[in-house]
């Protein structure tokens, strides 16, 4: 009977899910899916109700009432216990008294101050060194610049002296007439040739 | 099924009864609580000194699944530190099993009794508290019986539950046949497997159990007959053994062995222990004080031995050589004299039982000592070592 039902179910399942997985499942757990109707043999079966006598029912009622009341109070107690535990527990953190906390803070402050002092002294030394180094550098640069400018001035002076020396033979407006006269008086003929021995051959 | 169970229970009870019957008839038991005397600091010191500390024996190679060793390079300072740690470790390994009296099941075990719960189930329920971090002794185990009574579990059940939920390494959930069958135990004893039996006993039983007392008493008594005390020397069981002998006034065999092996200091300590336990008005503290001043404790001796291997051969003084050859120093000779006097006093007293034997042993030892002393002095003179230098 069950097997027949099973086949039926298989078909139904195949239609419904379109896969074979579902069918495999109730090879062991053969159970009726909810969407299938009640089996024919069980159609008119009326489930028997367990009879419960009146006194048993009242007794149970009384017991349950008792139980619930007791459990409620126990729960209340446990809830308070948990809260208490959470407040007083030091399981996951460190608890300190105010004095200890103050002392801890003071210790931290002291330590911080000590660190600061140490670092400050170190820094002062370092800054002084740096300043000195900078001064020395600047000094050096200044010296170098001075030297350089002096050198330049000397060069310029020399040039000027040379130029002045040169300027003596220049033709000025006053000596123009004389120069023309001398030029006219001494014409220069550049129209000549020189052979390998240095003999000059004047033309014209 | 239930029939089988019944049979099994019967057989268990039967073996227990036979063991108890056979053992209790001829073994000595502690008549009152030995704990205050055992935990006393002086007693502990005496017992530890008697146990001695032989590093080779304590750290012998064990056949356990992991017995790997580690090799390291170390500076001398590190090595020194390691030496000290070694001594501490050895002392830990020599921790004596506690001596306590037999514990009975508590009389007021019943917590509540609810008559309305009668027949709520066909078997009883055993509840074990497995809260993390509890010790085995403070863990609560309660039993709800079929008649509805809630009570604390018996010691037997407690042990079973502790072993089930928090197993102790090496302990069996059943009684090993070695302990349940007297003939097997007898065979072990005859093969002189004392240390094995006692080791297994400590693991299998709690010190307050009746079986622990019976079996250990049996081992100690057998040891008294076979006189193989050297097997237990420098193990954790030597202290309880000496304590057992001192308690039951049968130290003579051990004493004889100690004199034979030339452990006079230990012999004095043993006598002192028995005086202390039985409150015999003999002043032993003075002698002990003198001896302690003259001779090092076992820990110091072991440490010296460790350090000795660092010494280079040329560093060895000629006096050390002489001492090594004879095995005794001048202080040892002085200490021997004091202790021999004390021991002879004991032998002369009414507490010694095997006087003739002991006297003979003392006499031979004296002669031997005299010879050694003469040899020592002769050697010293020959090498030109001055007497005052030591």
């Amino acid at each position: 009977m069950l097997r027949a039902g099973c086949q039926l179910l298989n078909q139904a399942a195949a239609v419904k899910t379109g896969s074979n997985n579902f069918a495999l499942e109730f090879v062991r757990w053969r159970r009726k899916p909810r969407w299938l109707p009640v089996a024919k043999s069980k159609m008119f079966r009326v489930p028997e109700r367990k009879k419960q006598t009146e006194e048993e029912r009242t007794e149970l009622m009384r017991l349950h009432n008792n139980y619930k009341t007791q459990l409620r109070s126990v729960r209340q107690y446990l809830r308070e216990e948990v809260v208490r535990q959470q407040e007083t527990s030091t399981a996951d953190h460190i608890v300190l008294t105010p004095e200890q906390e103050e002392a801890e803070f003071q210790r931290c402050l002291d330590e911080n101050a000590a660190w600061n002092a140490k670092i400050a002294s170190e820094r002062n030394v370092r800054l002084a060194e740096e300043r000195e180094a900078k001064v020395a550098y600047v000094q050096e640069r200044l010296e170098a610049a001075k030297l350089r400018s002096e050198e330049r001035r000397e060069k310029v002076d020399e040039r000027i002296r040379y130029e002045i020396e040169q300027a003596k033979t220049f033709i000025t407006r006053e000596s123009l007439e004389v120069a023309i006269e001398t030029a006219l008086a001494n014409p220069v003929d550049h129209n000549y040739a020189i052979d390998l021995e240095g003999n000059m051959y004047r033309g014209r | 099924m239930s029939l089988l169970r019944h049979f099994r229970k019967l057989s268990v009870e039967h073996t227990r009864r036979t063991l108890a019957g056979s053992a209790s008839s001829n073994t000595r038991q502690y008549d009152k609580d030995p704990q205050p005397l055992f935990t006393d600091a002086e007693t502990q010191r005496l017992l530890q000194n008697m146990t001695q500390l032989q590093l080779d024996k304590v750290f012998r190679k064990r056949t356990v699944s992991d017995n790997s060793t580690e090799t390291k390079f170390m500076t001398t300072a590190q090595l020194e530190k390691e030496f000290l740690q070694t001594i501490v470790k050895a002392n830990k390994l020599l921790q004596m099993p506690p001596v306590v009296k037999v514990k009975e099941d508590a009389q007021d075990a019943l917590i509540t009794k609810d008559a309305a719960l009668k027949d709520f189930a066909d078997t009883k329920y055993v509840f074990t508290d497995i809260t993390f971090g509890l010790r085995n002794s403070e863990r609560k185990v309660v039993v709800r019986d079929v008649d509805g009574s809630l009570s604390y579990a018996s010691l037997d059940t407690r042990k079973r539950m502790n072993q089930l939920y928090f197993p102790l390494d090496g302990r069996r959930s059943y009684t090993p046949r070695m302990f349940s069958k007297p003939e097997l135990l007898q065979r072990c004893l005859e093969e002189h497997k004392y240390e094995f039996v006692l080791d297994r006993l400590t693991v299998q039983y709690e010190p307050y159990e009746l079986e622990f007392h019976q079996i250990s008493a049996r081992v100690f008594e057998h040891l008294m007959e076979s006189k193989q005390f050297d097997l237990l020397r420098s193990t954790r069981h030597f202290g309880p053994m000496a304590f057992f002998y001192a308690w039951h006034r049968c130290i003579d065999d051990l004493l004889y062995d100690m004199i034979r092996q030339d452990y006079l200091h230990n012999a004095v300590e043993l006598i002192a222990l028995s005086y202390k336990i039985h409150q015999i008005p003999v002043d032993y503290k003075q002698t002990l004080g003198q001896l302690d001043a003259l001779q090092p404790t076992p820990g110091q001796r072991a440490l010296a031995e460790l350090r000795n291997c660092l010494k280079k051969p040329q560093e060895q003084h000629i006096q050390d050589d002489i001492q090594a050859a004879i095995g005794k120093t001048e202080q040892d000779f002085a200490a021997d004299e004091i202790s021999l006097k004390f021991i002879e006093e004991y032998i002369g007293g009414e507490h010694a039982l095997k006087k003739v034997q002991l006297e003979l042993a003392v006499q031979t030892l004296k002669e031997l000592n005299l010879e050694k002393l003469q040899l020592y002095q002769g050697l010293k003179k020959a090498h030109g070592v001055q007497a005052s230098s030591s």
Partner: protein
């Protein structure tokens, strides 16, 4: 493998410690050709005992050998001539194809009361080696001196069945106290037994 051992043992257990058969058994044990031994067996038997009508089958393992005999055998001269000072498994080599032996040894050497293989394992090849918890001399040969555990079958070459029996026997022997082992160290917490906290005992070191 040992057709003569039994024929010989029926007599040697009683009297003769160093007769010719014992030596012969020892030599044949090492040679692997069981067939040769089979051929020789009846001849030897007829020579030695003469009274035995049918030659015993060397591969037969249906006869139960008592442990006491085995224990006596392990102490006998015949055992010493056979194995010398070595363990019973040291001379044994497994036969296998290729370079590497299969990871597991064979399941069993004895099928239907007969040795079913040409190279039975060290226990199965000598029927006077009986695995039993009382036979401590034999069991000790299979225990590692370093770790205290039962040696693996890859080392000893025991068949799986013998190995299982070996392990059971060792466990039983330990339970009975016939074999000693290093018991795990148990550290005591004194306060657990003495209630209050004792001051730690000072050790001068």
């Amino acid at each position: 493998m040992l057709p003569l051992a039994r024929a010989f043992y029926s007599s040697v257990a009683r009297i003769s410690r160093n007769n010719r058969v014992a030596l012969h058994t020892a030599s044949t044990l090492r040679c692997k050709e069981a067939t040769v031994v089979d051929n020789e067996a009846p001849a030897e038997n007829s020579e030695e005992s003469g009274s035995d009508a049918s030659p015993p089958d060397g591969k037969d393992r249906t006869k139960v050998i008592p442990v006491e005999t085995s224990m006596r055998y392990l102490k006998s001269a015949a055992y010493r001539t056979t194995y010398g000072e070595e363990f019973v498994w040291t001379q044994y080599r497994r036969n296998h194809k290729g370079m590497y032996a299969p990871r597991k040894t064979r399941k069993t050497c004895v099928r239907q009361g007969k040795i079913s293989t040409g190279n039975p394992c060290p226990i199965c090849r000598d029927e006077y080696l009986v695995l039993d918890y009382r036979n401590t001399d034999l069991l000790k040969q299979f225990i590692s001196p370093y770790s205290g555990q039962v040696l693996s079958y890859s080392k000893t070459g025991l068949c799986q069945k013998s190995h299982l029996r070996l392990k059971v026997a060792v466990e039983q022997a330990r339970d009975c106290g016939l074999l000693t082992y290093d018991v795990p160290f148990r550290e005591y917490d004194y306060s657990e037994y003495y209630g209050k906290q004792e001051e730690p005992i000072q050790l001068k070191s």
